[in-house]
């Protein structure tokens, strides 16, 4: 067993537990909301005992585990409680999962992003379960007058072997809630895991398939009004004037007014990105009526002058940013990116003497890759419920980073943090978009003005044209081979609008003696934000396509070529700062090689492509088999190999992996958002193409590397290498390399 201290990071778990623990808690009103229905319904206990912030135990042994992080499809609401249940040593069938409220005293890092929930929650969740188990054992020891060390547990039952005594957790729960919290607890050995690593169904499955109100958009309160906003139709524009006379007279309309989303002097934090600082709010009785009035608004917009904002990005100093004026177009972006790519960039890493190596090379390969802006297009458009009164604010809805948004809200409303209550609903997709919650501020300001509960609804068009996109990117790769086809130099120069996608210390840095990494950026007033595996989602596609072509130029098998480079990085790495583990990286390639039967003749006659990548602390390799039918790629099978440490819930993990593969194929083939004079060319799903049923792979096989490493990310790392696996397979099928995403866009056929 591992012994761990019940403190972590800057926080004392102990303190949090003591604050929340103790005492008997009767008849929670929220029980109605979490009552499972259907045949397998548990009999709910008459009484609940608060053990600590994470769990409650009823007198009949039923356990409620609070899931601290918002759920947006990554399965955290199932897998995080599984971790608590494991070290509590309880029967999963007796567990109810409830979404925890936002409470930064009790929980840390209550957000989705960076594939970090499980990775960072792992110790805390295990400790929560283990502490409660320890307290139950103490309570039993006192009741039975035996040493606590002689008590054992199994599936929610306490045993004392010598006396033959036993009791369910429920029987000891009341006494346990009065036991002081241990300073140190023992965690289970991995070999004793009974829940972690076993497939468990989504705890909200039944509610989802029966259409119960789980999502923010489903929020309904007595007297609630519906609000929408009208924002500028394009970037670089601001509100000039509103004529609301016609709209105001329409049925069901309560009020129309403008709101300023953030104060001018507000110092923004990382996630406070706000595209349109002033918007028009339309408030009425029903969604349809408000939609009609919105169409009847006569609004004039005008170009804005360049302005500056003070901003602190994560882990950086406070900076003053200039937001440029101008109405931008994708055609101009394209030529500007080509211009930047032709000039020297900022050097981020240099090993050896790349210039000399290129001069003496037998062969040099140079290729450039591009990718466009992308909209997240969560299926549930942005929305939020708000009820702001003179001294407090109650909010509910889907967002990824409540603990950060809360600060901006407090400042803007002038209401102290402790008077703000944000309830986290299920998210109808997030993928990074719901980290930037300007709509939450809008909802709160509208409620404050109306002095009424409101639900702010974005239409799909509002959602798609409100900014916070995946940036547009460009990368040029250059490689030198000697007469024996050994890689002697590697040069990457990457940039984007407005951020660089470069990670200079990633593979193949470390695997080649002469290495140069440079980058550049272009300013824009189009806002950007995290998008599933930020930056990696482009760099993997470009780099892994290039390595494929490079292997071909060197006359080598593309998978073995990668393994050869990784062998160098493993045995004799160049430089000190390489941010990947070459052995684990090679491990996923070897696994996918074996599972896909790489190198053997594929009986189906499909063309294969391979790609691998490391990001978000996990390693992934894909082999994709595809055919081209009537000019369309048909993905027959995708073999995925993943090393993300211990897999908590294999069922949820495979689902998430499959989704990443589908998402990658969809975006590389079809995804793009382009602009003309500041205005997005697409605003709804008739034009913005999202992958559909018939375009999904016929089969996806996911293989996990088995090891004892603490779990790392899974929501993001599978996504980036998909695009290159597809590009490389398509090359084998068609003989054509593709460099510019999307490969098809709105076209029905390739090329």
């Amino acid at each position: 067993m591992t012994l761990v201290k019940t403190t972590y990071g800057r926080r004392s778990f102990l303190k949090a537990t003591a604050l929340a623990g103790g005492g008997m808690v009767l008849g929670f009103s929220w029980l109605a909301g979490c009552k499972p229905s259907g045949k397998d319904a548990l009999t709910l206990p008459k009484e609940w005992f608060n053990i600590n912030g994470f769990l409650k135990i009823g007198e009949n042994g039923v356990v409620t585990i609070m899931s601290p992080n918002p759920e947006g499809g990554q399965n955290v609401k199932t897998s995080m409680p599984m971790i608590v249940a494991e070290d509590l040593d309880v029967d999963w069938a007796k567990v109810i999962v409830e979404q925890a409220p936002l409470d930064t005293e009790k929980f840390t890092r209550q957000f989705i992003g960076g594939s970090q929930a499980i990775r960072q929650g792992w110790q805390a969740l295990r400790m929560a379960g283990a502490s409660a188990r320890h307290m139950l054992m103490e309570a039993a020891a006192q009741a039975w007058q035996v040493p606590a060390g002689e008590i054992t547990t199994e599936a929610g039952v306490l045993f004392h072997k010598n006396s033959g005594k036993s009791a369910g957790y429920g029987e000891m729960a009341s006494a346990a809630s009065k036991v002081s919290v241990p300073k140190e607890v023992k965690l289970k050995d991995l070999k004793d895991f009974k829940i972690i690593g076993t497939p468990r169904k989504n705890v909200d499955g039944l509610k989802i398939v029966t259409g119960q109100p789980l999502f923010g958009i489903d929020t309904h309160r007595e007297g609630m009004l519906i609000a929408m906003i009208a924002h500028p139709p394009g970037f670089g524009l601001k509100l000039k004037s509103v004529d609301d006379s016609a709209a105001r007279a329409m049925p069901g309309i309560r009020d129309i007014f403008t709101i300023k989303v953030l104060n001018d002097d507000y110092e923004r934090q990382h996630f406070d990105t706000c595209t349109f600082l002033e918007v028009v709010a339309i408030v009425g009785d029903s969604t349809w009526e408000v939609m009609q009035a919105k169409k009847a608004l006569k609004t004039e917009w005008e170009p804005f002058e360049a302005y500056s904002e003070v901003r602190t990005f994560w882990g950086q100093e406070k900076q003053t940013l200039t937001i440029p004026a101008g109405l931008e177009s994708s055609s101009v972006h394209k030529s500007k990116m080509a211009e930047m790519a032709a000039k020297p960039g900022t050097v981020r890493r240099k090993d050896g003497d790349p210039e000399a190596a290129f001069r003496s090379a037998a062969k040099v390969l140079e290729r450039s890759y591009t990718a466009p802006f992308l909209a997240h297009n969560c299926m549930e458009p942005m929305n939020f419920f708000a009820h702001v009164t003179a001294d407090k604010a109650e909010l509910a809805g889907p967002l990824q980073k409540p603990e950060f948004t809360e600060k901006a809200l407090s400042e803007r409303l002038g209401i102290p943090l402790e008077k703000i209550d944000i309830q986290m609903t299920r998210l109808g997709g997030g993928y990074g978009r719901r980290s930037y919650a300007h709509w939450l501020l809008e909802a709160a300001l509208i409620s404050q003005k109306m002095n009424a509960p409101i639900k702010l609804m974005y239409t799909r068009e509002d959602d798609m044209t409100a900014g916070i996109y995946r940036p547009a990117y460009h990368a040029t790769f250059r490689a030198a081979l000697d007469a024996n086809n050994n890689l002697t130099a590697f040069h990457v120069k990457a940039g984007g609008i407005p951020e660089s996608p470069l990670a200079a210390d990633r593979f193949p840095a470390g695997a080649v003696d002469n290495y140069l990494a440079e980058d550049w950026t272009i300013d824009t007033n189009i806002t950007i934000g995290s998008y599933r595996a930020p930056r990696s989602n482009f760099m993997a596609s470009a780099e892994q396509s290039f390595l494929d072509e490079l292997a071909e130029t060197a006359g080598k098998d593309p998978l073995d070529f990668r393994l050869e480079l990784l062998e160098r990085a493993k045995t004799n790495p160049v430089g000190e700062k390489n941010d990947y583990d070459a052995a684990r990286y090679a491990g996923v390639l070897e696994l996918v090689k074996e599972k896909s039967g790489w190198g053997k003749n594929d009986p189906s006659g499909a063309s294969r492509g391979v790609a691998a990548y490391f990001c978000h602390n996990s390693y992934v390799a894909h082999v994709m088999d595809l055919t081209v039918e009537d000019g369309k790629p048909v993905v027959q099978k995708v073999h995925c190999a993943v090393d993300c440490g211990i897999v908590v819930n294999p069922l949820g993990a495979v689902n998430l992996a499959e989704g990443s593969v589908v998402d990658g194929i969809g975006n590389v083939l079809y995804g793009e958002l382009t602009f003309k004079d500041g205005v997005p060319d697409r605003s709804n799903l008739d034009k913005y193409r999202i992958i559909r049923h018939s375009e999904a792979p016929k089969a996806i096989e996911v293989h996990f590397v088995k090891n004892d490493i603490d779990p790392t990310g899974l929501g993001e790392p599978l996504y980036p290498p998909v695009m290159a696996a597809l590009a490389n397979a398509l090359y084998r099928a068609t003989g054509k390399r593709l460099y510019d995403q999307p490969f098809m866009g709105e076209r029905q056929m390739l090329g």
């Binding site: 947006g72 169904k201 398939v209 029966t210 799903l685 992958i691």
Partner: protein, 151 residues
């Protein structure tokens, strides 16, 4: 504004709304049946799928005035407690990720299977192509439809 008596999930409901109001918003705003979702409003994504009689329809572009006395079924009325064969298959295959699109997928699949009890892969893809899942659960949806078909 006009009065409509609607036959939804076997019950009569009265609403007073603009006759142009799409059924989607009648269900969501006026009857608090929020299982039917809004995704695009222009018949492109399928999250708003309901049944009119036995036929799957996009409720976002279906004005309430066109319903008359046809029987409307929403996800809330598909089964008493989630035990319609399609819902059971969805649970067996643990289909949902975020879950937002799934009620629309289920409603479309249920109507499709009623008309085509033994579909092949191509027929499933063609029938389901109007329902977008942004989380990419398509592989599971297809497997679940096959399970539901074979009972």
């Amino acid at each position: 504004m006009a009065n409509f008596t609607l036959n939804i999930n076997g019950k009569k409901h009265q609403v007073e709304v603009d006759p142009a109001t799409p059924m989607l918003w009648v269900l969501r705003d006026h009857l608090n049946l929020t299982g039917t979702k809004y995704g695009c409003g222009i018949a492109q994504c399928g999250t708003c799928t309901i049944h009119l009689g036995d036929v799957a329809m996009r409720s976002c572009t279906l004005p309430v005035s066109q319903i008359g006395n046809q029987e409307v079924t929403t996800i809330e009325g598909l089964s008493e407690s989630g035990d319609h064969p399609v819902q059971k298959a969805w649970l067996e295959h643990d289909v949902p990720q975020c879950g937002y699109c799934q009620t629309g997928q289920i409603m479309n699949a249920a109507a499709f299977l009623k008309a085509n009890p033994n579909p092949n892969d191509e027929a499933i893809e063609a029938a389901m192509n109007g329902n977008i899942c942004r989380c990419g659960t398509y592989v599971r949806i297809k497997a679940a439809i096959k399970t539901a078909a074979t009972g």
